[in-house]
Symmetry: C2
Subunit: 156 residues, 2 copies
């Protein structure tokens, strides 16, 4: 949300025929889960996870869809004053890193805008952030917007 | 140059009181060099490298300055049609990664624009690109612009 707001506030795209696509990537497997064994290591990934009851599965699916709807509605509200730019939304399923790179290529994107967490040195040693991966693997220009940390002493 | 052209062509900054700063980072030690020993490992970094003759040193310094002047002049030519934006140039000395991060902080930059090489998977395993390092360590938004590869079959 911050990356979207920042881009709309600070950057104007010259070409009024531009299309802004809000891409939401849902993770895989909302209706099944793969249990961990006692060592914390995932069971054979070839075997499907436990299948939830139809009721629980439906509830999780509904919750997942509610999250998507909520995020996209909030994003659209941020874009409501956007003039001369066509707004589209797209929901895909998969690993965010791969889906974002693949969609940027498929859509022939002119610019990819991404939010980013400000991982510390330790976390960065273990996790590669989605924005980092995409900025390396996407061919088009990438704009990475980090949410600024609240100033010390500013409360909250 | 490509990152600068792309930004000017595709993005307009809303605030007409913006300042565009062209930052050039010269590497350290243009007038001395530290020889490698037979193992290819650098001599004790605490000892200064061989000192060149004053004539050779002056020639290298002049060449280095010529490169800076040439790059900045070319950059300014690219910016010549820029309206309502103040243009400044800044030349610093040091490790590009560190200097870019430090200057972004010092100048309280709103946006850092960087070019980037499209390293392959193998090269990325050994080298961390300057843009990658900066996008992780700079607090402000970062725009990374890669030069597109010429299309296959398009000659050159």
């Amino acid at each position: 949300m911050y990356a979207l707001s920042w881009s709309l506030k600070n950057i104007i795209f010259q070409n009024s025929s531009d299309t802004l696509i809000l891409l939401y990537v849902k993770p895989h497997h909302h209706d099944t889960f793969t249990p961990l064994d006692s060592t914390g290591i995932m069971d054979d990934p070839q075997t499907p996870g436990h299948v939830l009851s139809p009721k629980a599965s439906a509830a999780i699916k509904k919750y997942s869809q509610d999250v998507v709807d909520c995020v996209l509605q909030k994003s659209k509200r941020i874009c409501k004053d956007l003039e001369n730019v066509k707004l589209e939304t797209q929901v895909e399923r998969g690993n965010p890193k791969d889906v974002i790179c693949e969609m940027s290529r498929k859509l022939n994107a002119d610019l990819l805008v991404m939010g980013s967490h400000d991982y510390g040195v330790m976390k960065r040693a273990f996790f590669e952030s989605v924005s980092e991966y995409c900025s390396q693997n996407v061919k088009c220009p990438v704009l990475i917007v980090k949410k600024p940390k609240p100033h010390a002493g500013a409360g909250n």
